[in-house]
Symmetry: C2
Subunit: 222 residues, 2 copies
Amino acid sequence: MAKTSEVFVTVDIVIFALREDDLQVLLIKRKYPPFENTWAIPGGFVQPQESLEDAAARELYEETGIRNVHIEQLYTFGQLHRDPRGRMITVAYFALVPKPLAVQAGSDTTDAQWKSVYDLPQTAFDHAEIVNYALKRLRYKLEYTAVGFQLLPLDFTLSELQHAYEIILGEALDKRNFRRRILQAGVIEETGAMHMGDGRPAKLYHYRPSAVAEVKTRRLFP
Amino acid sequence: MAKTSEVFVTVDIVIFALREDDLQVLLIKRKYPPFENTWAIPGGFVQPQESLEDAAARELYEETGIRNVHIEQLYTFGQLHRDPRGRMITVAYFALVPKPLAVQAGSDTTDAQWKSVYDLPQTAFDHAEIVNYALKRLRYKLEYTAVGFQLLPLDFTLSELQHAYEIILGEALDKRNFRRRILQAGVIEETGAMHMGDGRPAKLYHYRPSAVAEVKTRRLFP
DNA sequence: TCAAAAGTGTTTGTGGTACACCCATGG
DNA sequence: CCATGGGTGTACCACAAACACTTTTGA
């Protein structure tokens, strides 16, 4: 049988956050060829001594300083000529981060910015395909499982949560139905505290740690 | 940044078929270490000149002689010590084959047999985990999309299809409800021909090629 | 007292579930 | 005419969808 293969493995990570009433992804501008000066999603080679999940978490931490957020394997892309340097296979992950910190360029990059998923710039490799696939998956998951609050701070109001869903799904949702279904799903609970804002104060909610992450509910939003 | 990594990439493929009123997977018995003489799912190194999908299709063809069946990427497993020979990452696929041909041992194997997913033997590496993950995914897909007929011959009766679903889901289904929902989903249509059997002849159906493979229907069997 | 956002119930429609009998053929 | 599997309809229930007004606070 075949012995081995000059094949390299990277992880790339689509980092989602809600900013400016928009769903955005973190892109970095590449300093070196190939695709010098082109936007790309963060990623890098898998080191022999780290698991794929660890590699993804490390990339996320290196680019954003964020740890302990929702990370999930997306898909593995292995088309032949993805990368002019040789045979590259990338295991793509996506992450949902609640607090989009200010980001700064790393050593391999000349810039790092949050960009709207609805208006992506030109991107390196097949990264536009990867981001779009991640968006599709995020929407799908939002309908079936309750991951939306992973993009919000620990405590949030129902209006904020609904607003997040509307940005991601790209459609308006009915307030009463939204509240009923989210609460029936039983994945969040009141903190007891209130959020003071412009109008009437709002109850704050948080994720119920006891709830299973992948609640296989009925569709939340069919 | 890190340069590269002594990381090897394989594809492994979980091949499902319905045999003997049972859901079975094709396992091969390894001829060489590691895990000499242990059952494993077919797989091998990805060659530099083939895509991941091509590698999976090639492995399937080498082991079963079957082409042009439903193959789908499952998950990429990259734990550190999966393989004693070094750092191995495997991109797992699963395939649904309609006609389980007789299989025979290949050059690297001493045996090849269909084994029940409900009664797996001891397996090499993390292959039991991979098979169980594939089963979970197959069941999940069966509930939401209509892939069941990929395990049947081109033409089939509704009773045969229902029987397939029952074997995979592990529960009895109501005949009238099953028929109504499958037909409403609109993915199969009558061929016009009949199947002659022991009792009343049954209408034959086949897949409607025009139907999208991944029909995102309501759950077929919630 | 006004602006701004939070909060709350009911009606109607659709789809899921449960359930039992007649039909067409071969032997 | 009997055995075998194929084929069909309805009543009930639960959940989804549509829809508008009242409440609480700060300015």
